[in-house]
């Protein structure tokens, strides 16, 4: 921990010194994106180590590091740098989703389908009901809703509850990867968040259409539903195509697979922006195709990309953290904390009910809801969509939503890690552990061994 703190201080000092060379938001060469990338990667990893020593998830460390050094707090990372790292983020999310898809084997999950469906449905439904009640109940006190009619308040509450019910596959995958967790809880949580993510995207298209009917100035109601359908189906189709490309490459070429996967993720991220493809869905579909359809197993891809997982997670979550709207959070802090608490209660109750109906053991049922608490990318994306789609009240709603997401983003990973720890699943993924072989670092115990040998020699000499 001391070493990590010293290195962190050194990296921060160097970066601050370099940034003092130019007036803010100006650059002489490039945009400073390489500096931002290097700084975020190194500082996030060091913060992650410090958090690990404190028995907290690395991931929370990554997020907090990004938030602190991001544009809204210290400002070491400028908005322009964040913008230039958007592609890195998209590539990372594609890679994270690909890895997750490669982990999901339908044959193994078949016996659990009922359980996954019921828990997802229960958790989301209860969360949405609780959030809807909370927001609608407080609509008279919330600034942007005060002047609205009852009908409008209902629709806005529906939209907000829909966004806030979103889960985070990326965070769950990140926590499972960093803790090398394996077991029933890990598998169930991963499946639930993936299924629930799709359900949220579809539900949002309905609530968005409803909102457009009530707020006609927002535009055509049908277009968003159609666009979302294309977005989801198109992303799945693109993912299957990408999976097929990976399968052919691994079977026929099998050279620098990791680099090839990165290159393809880059192309998907570039083109996805124009075609409105979700890199998460594309990556997930590609992974599912590899694991469940193609003769190349998903674990083959995981093996090749495993070494890149750590930098990917660190940069992705640090950038997400840097995008955290701290000022927005402070402006709506009481409402946001309240909404986060209500959401947690809704998810917990709903998931417990779903688990009971599915006949899940009490121990497992008690811990599964914690995997549904983290929030990040999808919720942020939907909040952004609300902001841009509904001029007038969209901005106010987005502020409330972002504030709540900040709370879930920071506390969700911590709670999920605790649940995994209690379930005894941390460190059970032996396959992940086997790839963690020291490479060029000095042997960890070489100093101690030398000291012991010296002592033994001295003792022998004394004895003689």
């Amino acid at each position: 921990m001391t070493r990590a703190a010293v290195v962190l201080a050194l990296v921060i000092g160097l970066s601050f010194a370099a940034r003092s060379f130019l007036v803010d938001s100006t650059t002489l060469t490039g945009s400073g994106a390489a500096l931002a990338f290097g700084f975020l990667l190194l500082s996030a990893l060091q913060t992650g180590r410090i958090f690990h020593a404190l028995h907290l998830p690395h991931l929370t460390g990554f997020l907090l590091c990004g938030a602190i050094f991001g544009p809204e707090v210290i400002g070491l990372i400028t908005p322009a740098m964040i913008q230039d790292l958007a592609l890195v983020k998209k590539v990372a999310v594609g890679l994270i989703a690909l890895t997750a898809g490669c982990e999901l084997n339908f044959r193994k999950l078949r016996p659990q389908i009922k359980c996954i469906g019921l828990i997802s449905f229960g958790g989301l439904l209860f969360a949405m009901i609780c959030l809807f009640s909370f927001i609608f109940g407080l609509s008279g006190r919330i600034e942007f809703m005060r002047a609205m009619t009852i009908e409008q308040r209902v629709v806005v509450s529906l939209i907000c509850s829909n966004v806030l019910a979103a889960l985070s596959p990326a965070v769950v995958m990140g926590i499972l990867s960093e803790t090398r967790a394996q077991g029933p809880l890990s598998e169930l949580c991963l499946s639930i968040v993936v299924v629930a993510d799709l359900a949220i995207a579809v539900a949002f298209s309905f609530s968005d259409s409803g909102a457009r009917a009530v707020f006609p100035q927002a535009g055509d109601a049908g277009s968003v539903f159609g666009a979302l359908a294309i977005h989801i189906l198109g992303s799945i189709a693109a993912g299957v195509a990408v999976g097929a490309i990976f399968a052919v490459y691994i079977r026929r070429v099998a050279l620098r697979v990791g680099l090839f996967v990165f290159a393809v993720c880059f192309v998907v991220a570039e083109v996805g922006t124009v075609l409105h493809l979700d890199p998460l869905l594309v990556g997930l579909s590609a992974g599912l195709f590899l694991e469940n359809v193609s003769p190349v197993g998903g674990h083959e891809v995981i093996r090749h990309t495993n070494v890149a997982a750590m930098p990917t997670f660190a940069v992705f979550f640090a950038v997400i953290g840097a995008e955290v709207h701290v000022h927005a959070f402070l402006a709506v802090a009481p409402f946001a904390v309240g909404a986060a608490v209500v959401r947690a209660i809704g998810i917990y109750t709903g998931a417990r009910v779903g688990a009971r109906l599915a006949g899940v053991s009490t121990e497992l049922a008690r811990r599964v809801p914690f995997g549904m608490l983290p929030q990040a990318g999808i919720a942020l994306g939907l909040a952004g969509l609300v902001k841009t789609s509904f001029p007038g009240w969209g901005e106010g709603a987005a502020t409330l939503l972002l504030g709540t997401i900040v709370v879930n983003e920071m506390l969700g990973p911590v709670l999920f890690r605790v649940a995994l720890e209690r379930a005894g699943e941390i460190g059970k993924n032996t396959e992940a552990r086997s790839s963690l072989e020291p490479a060029h670092a000095p042997e960890p115990d070489s100093g101690a061994r030398r000291l012991a040998a010296e002592r033994a020699a001295k003792a022998r000499a004394d004895g003689e």
Binding site: V11, F21, G30, F37, L255, L259, V267, E270, A439, H440
Partner: protein, 424 residues
């Protein structure tokens, strides 16, 4: 990105990135070694041409948006290549070399630099560039720096030609003359600061020299501390990526030469006690070629081969460089160790242009893009065309001398790389 071009862009980017990965295939490298061609010719020029083609408005694959997205990769690529050069500067290994080899390296890199600076200056004057301007000297020095590095040696081929000892010495020369080029490049970045009104620091050149050296050394130490503390291969790779990105980002932000600062950091790392420096170098080399080719793709996107001025400077560059290498070989042979091959063989081995020349040129271009951008483009043009022309000249000279001097080219071996295989 225009929606009607999406399919084309997908296909173009996929082909380019796929080829960059495939171009590092051991079989392709074996063919290069067998034919004795440099990576600049086998893959570099095709990637430059592909970049130029993709950037054409009618083709529209490498659009300004995509080039902006690739910008961090560009800076990072410069840093990665600089780091690789730096890690070759291992003092323990250098001490094992004959002491007279240092003079040979200095001579065979400084003489062509001098001849190139003189001849290219004359070409610039011929093109109407006012020589009293301080930028004139800067451009001449950058071109001179590009003249120093020699292409990686096809060691197997040269062992068959001049014997094992001679080939190894030639290989060491080609490894180390890049350091001379980077030294000059670093000096240019220090003494010819890009014009900017937004800077908060106003420092004399001597202070910038200290900043360059200090930054490189500190970043090298940071990298060392990080790698020493790595608990796994994944963590080590993450630290290496972060350290190189931070080094290149800081150097770029301070408007210093990115490959120079990263080379200093790499050299610092190579001279500190790491358990498996060779393993680390292998990691660096493994990604170098794909990264270099993507780098060339981006360079190609801003390459203007149709500007005739570059075609005027290129012959001057090639003539100056080739004659300089020849003079350097004759002089170096006199002062160097007796195991060195003859001056003619040395000339043929050291004349092919290293891909690092383009890296050096482009690195300088990123610093001075705001000052006389037309001249910067001409110089890039000259170095790229010069690389191809040099290869042709070397081939002609080889044919001229091969019958009497050299043993025949050996048959194609298995694709496994030789143990002393080096960059790109």
């Amino acid at each position: 990105m225009p929606p009607d071009r999406v399919a084309r862009i997908v296909l173009g980017l996929a082909v380019a990135l796929g080829l960059a990965v495939l171009a590092a295939h051991p079989r392709l490298k074996a063919i290069e070694r067998r034919l004795g061609v440099t990576v600049l010719i086998s893959a570099g020029v095709p990637f430059l041409a592909m970049g130029a083609f993709f950037a054409l408005p009618s083709v529209g694959i490498l659009t300004p948006d995509i080039r902006r997205d690739l910008q961090p990769a560009f800076e990072f690529g410069l840093g990665w290549i600089g780091f690789v050069i730096g890690t070759q500067f291992n003092v323990h290994q250098l001490e094992k070399l004959p002491s007279a080899l240092g003079s040979v390296i200095a001579i065979e890199s400084l003489v062509p630099m001098f001849t190139t600076a003189v001849l290219c200056s004359m070409a610039f004057v011929g093109l109407g560039v006012p020589f009293r301007n301080v930028d004139f000297l800067r451009d001449a020095l950058v071109l001179a720096a590009c003249a120093a590095p020699s292409a990686p040696l096809a060691v197997d081929l040269w062992r068959a030609r001049v014997g094992s000892k001679g080939a190894d010495l030639l290989n060491q020369i080609t490894l180390l003359d890049e350091v001379t080029a980077l030294t000059v490049l670093g000096a240019v970045a220090i003494f010819f600061r890009p014009e900017a009104s937004a800077t908060r620091w106003v420092l004399p050149a001597s202070a910038w020299l200290l900043v360059t050296l200090g930054l490189g050394v500190v970043l090298g130490i940071v990298t060392y501390v990080l790698i020493r503390g790595a608990k796994s291969e994944a963590e080590e790779l993450a630290f290496l990526l972060g350290a190189i990105a931070l080094s290149s980002g800081m150097a770029g932000y301070l408007a210093l030469s990115v490959p120079v600062v990263c080379a200093i950091a790499g050299a610092q790392l190579a001279n500190l006690p790491l358990r498996d420096l060779e393993g680390l170098r292998k990691t660096l080399l493994d990604v170098e070629r794909p990264l270099y080719l993507v780098f060339l793709l981006i360079v190609g996107a801003s390459w203007r081969p149709t500007e005739w001025q570059g075609w005027v400077i290129a012959p001057a560059f090639v003539l100056a460089r080739t004659s300089g290498k020849r003079l350097g070989a004759i002089w170096g042979r006199r002062v160097g160790p007796p195991e060195l091959p003859g001056a003619r063989a040395m000339t043929l081995a050291l004349t092919p242009q290293s891909p690092i020349s383009i890296v050096a040129m482009v690195s300088a271009a990123t610093l001075y893009q705001g000052s006389h951008p037309d001249r910067v483009r001409w110089a890039i043009n000259a170095v790229i065309i010069g690389g191809v022309l040099t290869e042709i000249v070397v081939r002609v000279l080889e044919r001229f001398h091969a019958k009497s001097t050299f043993t025949p080219i050996p048959a194609l071996r298995a694709p496994a790389a030789p143990p002393d295989e080096r960059r790109a």
